[in-house]
Symmetry: D3
Subunit: 128 residues, 6 copies
């Protein structure tokens, strides 16, 4: 993991933009772990910055979606860091509980749909 003081100018530029954009003075381990690969670091950050910015979906909804994927994938780092950012963006305990209930249910019925080999209904095919 590469700390700010040990970082190359190229990496520092990304670190600076992360801190400026997120209005924080710390760099998460995620970025430090990637910083030995400046190109991967830079591209990943640019993508996240663009994708997570509010648009047709607001910032909180995007954080909830990110958590839904991370719980599904068993990504413990992602749950730890993004449940913090989701709370900072306004996620209440009650929202988190409902989020998890939907995520659990979706993982449940995803397995059922595969297990029962459910064929796609004609009216949904029309939507393609």
């Amino acid at each position: 993991m590469i700390e700010y003081q040990d970082a190359s100018p190229e990496v520092r530029e990304v670190y600076d933009d992360i801190m400026r954009t997120r209005k924080t003075e710390t760099i998460n381990n995620f970025w430090k772990a990637m910083a030995a690969n400046p190109a991967v670091l830079k591209q990943t950050w640019e993508n996240i910055k663009q994708v997570m910015a509010p648009g047709a979906l607001d910032a909180l909804t995007k954080e909830l979606i990110y958590l839904a994927v991370s719980a599904t994938n068993q990504c413990s780092y992602c749950m730890a860091s993004h449940s913090a950012s989701a709370r900072a963006t306004g996620m209440t305990e009650k929202m988190f509980g409902e989020l998890m209930a939907v995520v659990g249910m979706a993982n449940n019925t995803n397995a059922l749909a595969a297990g029962f080999q459910v064929p796609i209904d004609d009216q949904f095919k029309a939507g393609l």
Copy 2:
């Protein structure tokens, strides 16, 4: 798959509740495929009805979360049926695009966090 006319009273009761709750006159293949197992059918429906009802999160946000999990799990049936219900609940094409961008990004960075073996930051551990 069990059609309404061939269904037992127990199964018909679930079918009736689905149509009443969802204000529709069709039963999706998902339910018909499960109906040979009335207990599984009934429990799954009761759970979905409770979990997907609006609460601290609105119905559309819950549909988006459901889609996020389903795309992550490669559940083609679930994408087909729930992208239809999400659109019926108000998901625009632009929302869908942003949803998919976040889902793609989350799957990307979930793999990176595992691949780079990123240790959880102390400030996120405190949150536990």
Copy 3:
């Protein structure tokens, strides 16, 4: 996909052993699709033959476990072929329904455990 009549002696030997072991006269597409790679075909078959043979767990329990993994992974081919072999081995419709209910529940609670970031209980750590 390589049919029996077009197969090399090396591939035919595997095909013959499959038909002999499974007491059938057809070779599933799974094997035909792999047969352009005789080494992969042979090793995969030898492993499956050994692993699926009854031991401390009987043949039906092993088929149920196989289906549990396949539904979780959304493997449609695996569900189609192994739900047939599970039924041939004695799986009833009621067993299948209960299997799917456990699989759905496990996928649900797996996501919840990750989502709520549940730390392992001390008494379970002792078991390691």
Copy 4:
């Protein structure tokens, strides 16, 4: 995580039912982590209680299926807690070894079926 002494009456009722049903005096972290969301806690417990109860499949077979899904999903908490309950239900070391061999093999061949793009055999389609 919410301990029994700090729990609301609603949560205590679930905790009491868990201890009564499982004939134990401890509440696992899984439940304590969810208890800030009493509705999720209650629904999850009710579902698990119903789904894991012996029926057409006995309690041990259900535990094995649960473990098969949990190993596939890389759920470390679920493996830790349910390998304990599976052993308490009668799973021997030899059974566990065979379970893992089938789970490993299923994950292997699931990937092969996808990788070789194996089309579903006509005789398995008929089963739909």
Copy 5:
């Protein structure tokens, strides 16, 4: 799906760059399906173009890695399109067979490592 003749100038620009970069005159369905969301289309293409370009790893190795992930995730579209591009880049049938054998084995032992709850060896921790 949006065909070239129906595409906006913004989408056509991406289509043109895809055809120029890949030296082809067809646009895959993947891009057409995304084109209703020009921002997602453009960002995804820019990322893929950058990531898949030869560097420390050559183009074929990158295609093999892409296939390894896609088989693991059961992505049938991705296997179909990228096994074609991998073959065009020089993947032989024998390479494909060995790729699949490693992918199957990795999925197998990934599940075993989780199932047996293997603790990380001290010498590998030192590497962090």
Copy 6:
């Protein structure tokens, strides 16, 4: 976990072959954790030895493929042990960065292909 000095002759034989083949004097926890099940241990080792041996793909490419699957599956043990063996086989930091970029991108576009429900192009179907 079973140490060498406590191992049965059957297990020692596998341990000896691992150390001989890998030119090392340590046995990883992965093998020790499995050693209570000598049949699983032996079969897993024999498979890995055969599959990871250089062939049409060299040893380093196979290690990269193994890492691609392990990051996708969130297998922390597998990432720890195999990123060590990949480095020992010649993987540079730059290669690792590019590997992770492709793995992240593949997980991203796998989810997009499922999410956008992309139908397989006719020219790729012909390849089947």
